[in-house]
Structures are given as structure tokens and as C-alpha cells.
């Protein structure tokens, strides 16, 4: 099949600071997805150019995207003043505003619509809790075959897998409080590649939960794969149709045979461009800390440019760390000097005491005795020698060391030996 005859679905969405782009060739047996492309938000023009390029390469295209806003609710009545997507005959996803900027988009889907499409065949009279994890947000709805009873959106940013499971459980309890009904079973669609989350959900939730995993691109390719699916649930800009009376141009497509499918360019210009900005309602558009740190050290020029500002915030930290390191080193060096000075001072004091003791003992000897052996320290004194003036020596030593032991011993050569021991 040549390019001109192929129906191609181009899908894109924004998660945190990145645009993710994919395109797939739609066939009667399903779609054949091509390689995913990623653009940083600073490369928005490049990203748009790439979409335009794909459009020019494949004349029969639809450009599908997803609304990841948290302020979406499922109601039973259509609100013509808001953007809405029909799910059942009596259920509409309503969103206050929608921002797509100047990014070409022909079909805009709500996660609730995608969830319904995924599980509608499984719905019956029993209450089913359908959960979709899109961009770290839980889109939850309690549904039966005839209607959606309740819906809400919960953020899971920064939560662990166990905490996400806990959120799901709490949501079930919350619904029980308002309806006195428990879901008979839970279906869950996880768009992130997280086998751990699937495992934890199976372990933590006692009810039978059937988590499946599929990427947003695949879901969007599926949604926009046939006219019946796409036209039944894409988000219509009611504001656009009421405010602009210019008719949309329809394109003839061998696969898409409906006026709801409008060429990408015209749709962007006439249908969705006038929808007011509501960027602040998106909760998951900022990068996680780890992603930003990776970005800081990334080699990509454009990414570096975008994160270059963060280096400015790094400057004070580096400056402070440098000052801290300098003072820390100086302090360590100074502590070493203090230890040496203290040791010197302590040694000096001990030496002075020792010299004083030595001086006292030699003075005590005087002309009364002569030392032969002596141990003089700051804690004890042990003396041995020859004495001539026993009493003067004894008195002097007793004056110096009151509890000393003075012993004399006569020698054979008519001399007298003395010994003295004392603690200082």
C-alpha cells in the first residue's frame, strides 16, 4: 500500500516537560506502530514541524491527543459552555477549558473515554470500578453497562506503588460511604511501564483486580483507528462551534468517512485553537527531581539550554559549600595546632614540676649526703646514697615529703647508707 492510500494516526501527548510523538499505519487488522519520538518543551517548534512533516507524508491522517487535566468529570448532561466528550447516551465527560496551544490536533480524548472504550464490553449490571493510571493520575469511574455512576481523579505524584494501591482502596471505601455499594470487581489500565505497580496492586488489593498495561500512544491509535470509535467519544469544543460559524472542511478518507474528522490543520485553526489556556489545572507537567538532575548532566544542547537556569541556583550552593569546605579544612588544621600547643603546655608544666622536685632533692642532699641512685618523678621519689648528717637529711626530706620512709643502714667502712621512698 502506497503512502497516499494509507490512513495514518499521529498521536502525541505532553508529560512533564516532554512531548511524546508517535504515528501508526492503520490497517484492517489493527495498527502498525512506528518508533516513538520525544521532544523537550523547548523544542516545541521542532515537534510541530515533525507533525506537519508526517501530515505531508501521509495525506490521510488524524492527529490524536489526550487531555490529562484533573478537572474532568463525568456528568449525565452535556454542558454546551464547556468542552465535552460523549461516552454513553446519557454520560458526558466535561472539562472547563482545554489548552492545546498551536499543536495540530484533530481528535482529543479524555482518559475516561479511553477507559470506557477499553472496558465497555466487560460492563454488565454489576458495579465495576474502572481505574486508569495516566501520567501519574488515577482516573476512576464506577460504571455499570448502562451508565457511569461516579468519577473522580486522584494525583499519585511522589507516591510509592503501595501508596497508590492504598489510594485505590480508600477510593473504594469513599464510594461505599456515598452509595453503600462496593465494586464487584476492579479493572485497571496502567499506561506507565511499571511491572512493580501491577504486582503491588495485585498483592495489596484483596478484591479481584485485573490490571493491564498499555501505552497512551497505543490507546490513542486504537481510539482513532476507526471512525465509529473516534467520533463517538472525542472531546468536542462546544465553545468553538458556538463562537465560530465558519464551516469545517471535511476530507475524504478511504477509512474515515465522517464529517467529524476534520483535517489536522483546519481543526487546529478553527476548532480547538480558540479554547482558552488552562495550563495551571495540569498537575503533572513539571519534571521530577531526578529527571531534572539527569537533564542537568544531559548532553542534549536544547535540554541543557532549558535547564541552564538551574545552574544559576547551583552557584550559591557551590559557593556555600566552598566556604564551608575552606573553614572545615582550616578548622581541622587549627585543631591539630591546638592539640600540639596543649600538649606542649602540659609537658612544660610537668617538666617544671619535675625540675622543681629534682632541685629540692639535690638541695636537701647539700653537704649532708651524696646520691648514688635516684628515681625522681612527679608521682614518686626513690633515693639511695651515703649520708653524713642523718638527722638534718631526715628532717629536710620529711619537710618535703611528709609520708616518706627514711631508712639508714651502717656500712662496713664506717659510713652510713640511706634510702628514702615517698609518693609525691
Amino acid at each position: 500500500m502506497r503512502n497516499q492510500q494509507q490512513y495514518v494516526t499521529i498521536t502525541h501527548y505532553k508529560e512533564r516537560e516532554f512531548y511524546f510523538l508517535n504515528h501508526a499505519i492503520q490497517t484492517h487488522d489493527g495498527f502498525i506502530s512506528k518508533e516513538m519520538e520525544q521532544f523537550h518543551e523547548s523544542e516545541k517548534e521542532k515537534f510541530i514541524e515533525r507533525i506537519r512533516q508526517l501530515q505531508s507524508e501521509h495525506p490521510y491522517t488524524q492527529i490524536a491527543s489526550i487531555s490529562l487535566a484533573t478537572n474532568q468529570t463525568v456528568t449525565e448532561e452535556e454542558d454546551t459552555n464547556r468542552v465535552s466528550a460523549k461516552i454513553f447516551n446519557n454520560n458526558y465527560v466535561i472539562q472547563e477549558k482545554m489548552d492545546i496551544g498551536n499543536i495540530p490536533t484533530t481528535l482529543y480524548f479524555s482518559p475516561f473515554a479511553i477507559l470506557y472504550e477499553e472496558y465497555r464490553k466487560k460492563l454488565d449490571s454489576k458495579l465495576t470500578l474502572i481505574i486508569g493510571l495516566f501520567d501519574r493520575k488515577l482516573y476512576m469511574m464506577f460504571a455499570t453497562e448502562d451508565k457511569i455512576h461516579q468519577s473522580w481523579v486522584i494525583g499519585t505524584r511522589g507516591l510509592t506503588e503501595k501508596q497508590i494501591a492504598d489510594r485505590v482502596y480508600k477510593s473504594m471505601k469513599a464510594y461505599y460511604k456515598i452509595s453503600y455499594k462496593f465494586a464487584d470487581h476492579i479493572e485497571m489500565l496502567v499506561t506507565d511501564d511499571s511491572p512493580k505497580l501491577l504486582k503491588v496492586l495485585r498483592e495489596e488489593l484483596s478484591l479481584s483486580i485485573l490490571p493491564t498495561q498499555n501505552s497512551i500512544h497505543n490507546l490513542l491509535h486504537h481510539m482513532s483507528g476507526t471512525p465509529s470509535r473516534a467520533t463517538s467519544s472525542y472531546i468536542r469544543s462546544s465553545l468553538a462551534t458556538t463562537q465560530h460559524s465558519s464551516p469545517h472542511q471535511s476530507i475524504k478518507n478511504n477509512l474515515v468517512d465522517t464529517n467529524d474528522f476534520i483535517s489536522a490543520q483546519n481543526d487546529t485553526m478553527d476548532n480547538l485553537e480558540d479554547i482558552k489556556l488552562n495550563e495551571s489545572t495540569f498537575t503533572g507537567t513539571s519534571l521530577s527531581f531526578m529527571d531534572k538532575m539527569k537533564l542537568l548532566f544531559s548532553n542534549k544542547k536544547s535540554q541543557r539550554g532549558a535547564s541552564g537556569k538551574q545552574f544559576l541556583s547551583l552557584v550559591p550552593l557551590l559557593f556555600i559549600v566552598a566556604i564551608g569546605a575552606y573553614y572545615s579544612m582550616q578548622n581541622s588544621k587549627l585543631l591539630g595546632d591546638i592539640i600540639v600547643t596543649e600538649s606542649q603546655s602540659y609537658s612544660q608544666t610537668n617538666n617544671t614540676l619535675l625540675a622543681m622536685n629534682s632541685n629540692d632533692i639535690f638541695s636537701a642532699m647539700g653537704k649532708n649526703a651524696e646520691l648514688k641512685n635516684a628515681i625522681i618523678s612527679n608521682s614518686k621519689v626513690e633515693l639511695k646514697g651515703v649520708v653524713w648528717g642523718i638527722e638534718p637529711l631526715r628532717n629536710t626530706l620529711n619537710e618535703l615529703y611528709s609520708d616518706g620512709e627514711f631508712i639508714i643502714k651502717p656500712l662496713e667502712n664506717f659510713m652510713t647508707e640511706f634510702s628514702f621512698k615517698s609518693k609525691v
Partner: protein, 142 residues
């Protein structure tokens, strides 16, 4: 230029908060500790300098060196023997004439002002040998 904190990105905010934490929990205590230690060091140094002046020592203390010690001690005493041992210990034997005992005591008193050493166990041993006192002690470097 007025910059609102809220206009910063998450990483920038975290870096700024981290900067403040590092500043107040690590840098400021380090600076305060440094200047406290500096005052303490200067006070001790001043005390030692006063003792130096009292003993007429002009040079500040230095690391123990066998040659320098021996040459200095031999000017005062007849025989000086130094045996270096492990762990910065030096066994010293000095022959002291009996009339030079006061010089020896002053020598001991000023030892720590000249070298970074202490006398092991603060102990001196004397033994009379041929009318000369042989003083023995061990120096420990610090």
C-alpha cells in the same frame, strides 16, 4: 531585579533550600567553631610565649631532631647520648657534673619550650658513676 521564589523551578527551589540548610547547619557552625578555636589557640600560644620570654628563649618550639638536640645539650654537658626508638621515643643519657645540677634542672624545665616532646612518665633516673651523675630519661615526641 525582583525574583519571586514561586517563579523558580522545583530543582531551583530545592537547590536554594539546600543552600540555606548547608549554610546554617554546616557552614555557620564551622565558621563559629573556627573562630572559637582560633581564640583558644592564640590564648595558649600567648601563654607559652610568656614562658619563653621568662626563660629567654626566642625561637619557638620545633620538631625533635637528634642532631640539633645533641649539639645543643653538648654545649651544657660533658657527654650526651641519644638512642632513637620506635614510636617517636628517644632514650637520653646525659652525664652531669655535680656542680651543674641546677643547669640540668633548667634544661629539663625548658625542654618542652624548645622541642615538641614530653618526658615519659615524668621520670628522671640518676646514677653516680665516677663522681659524675648519669641522668637517664626518655623523650616522647607529640
Amino acid at each position: 531585579m525582583s525574583l519571586k521564589f514561586t517563579s523558580f523551578t522545583l530543582v531551583s527551589k530545592l537547590l536554594i533550600i539546600l543552600s540555606f540548610l548547608v549554610l546554617f547547619l554546616w557552614v555557620v557552625p564551622n565558621i563559629v567553631s573556627y573562630y572559637e578555636n582560633l581564640n583558644q589557640y592564640e590564648s595558649k600560644k600567648r601563654s607559652l610565649q610568656e614562658v619563653n620570654v621568662k626563660h629567654g628563649i626566642t625561637k619557638s618550639a620545633q620538631k625533635f631532631n637528634v642532631t640539633t638536640f645533641k649539639s645543643m645539650a653538648t654545649t651544657l654537658f660533658s657527654n650526651v647520648n641519644v638512642t632513637s626508638m620506635e614510636k617517636g621515643k628517644h632514650h637520653i643519657i646525659i652525664h652531669v657534673e655535680k656542680d651543674k645540677i641546677k643547669i640540668f634542672n633548667t634544661f629539663i624545665e625548658t625542654l618542652a619550650l624548645r622541642y615538641f616532646v614530653s618526658i615519659e612518665n615524668n621520670e628522671l633516673k640518676f646514677e653516680e658513676k665516677e663522681k659524675i651523675l648519669e641522668a637517664t630519661f626518655t623523650l616522647q615526641e607529640f
